[in-house]
Amino acid sequence: MKAHLTRRYHFSASHRLHSAEMPADENVAVYGKCNNPYGHGHNYALEVTVSGPVVKSTGMVCNLADLDDFVQREILQRMDIQNLNMLPDFAATVPTSENLCVVIYEILQRGFHHAHPEKVRLEETMMNSFEYAGGKEVRR
């Protein structure tokens, strides 16, 4: 029987929203305070949802230790207390939370094989959150 398991993580990072494809005044108009050249930071909350059949012998979709190890190594160690603009993932894209959601989802898709990565949900602040499930509709 298939179940969805969601684990919540926390990290803090800085970013600056600036698109090289726009002139300076348009960057200011579109991104407002987020275009400040020195950047600013957030405490992000990250929810990773994986799915799969519940394995009879363990009662688990996947071992939580495997998920924690992967997220710690591949996501948190790379992003926590970092400037997101400096990461290779954002060499060509703006580190908005939308793009960050996609980057994290793709890291999971590529490297996590103990269960099926279903969805990434990212809270940038308590007031806004972003969800990405690949090409699929986000499931309620």
């Binding site: 398991l5 919540r8 949802t49 519940v54 363990t58 009662g59 939580l64």
Partner: protein, 141 residues
Amino acid sequence: MIYLTRKAEFSASHYYHNPNFTPEENHRIFGKCNNPNGHGHNYTLEVTVKGEVDSRSGFVVDLKQLKETMHFEVLDALDHRFLNKEVPEFRTLIPTTENLAISIWQRLKPKLKTAQLHRVRVYETADLFVDFYGEDSQDSE
């Protein structure tokens, strides 16, 4: 379609152990959760039902009936219990959050007369939860 979610809380203890594994395997796979004396959690349960709004009552479901069903079928059985020893299905099934979500679904499903069960979500802690959408949800495996 309207989705309606009712929350409840219960506290219970459990431990993870498969009698077919060696003690070393049990320890390696389940870690601290393998301690036979058990440990506990404050669980939060979210039950989501769905349906069309009844034109006369304005309800998707009678919330009182949903609340009472959750109380009789789930909370009375699980709250302040040692799941492995006191809840029949967990004498043979490991009481992981996954199996707990499935068990709660199976306890509620036959008793909910008017509401269509959509999702059972069980939080073991604020940072860990499991969703179950039913045995025959379209992408069940």
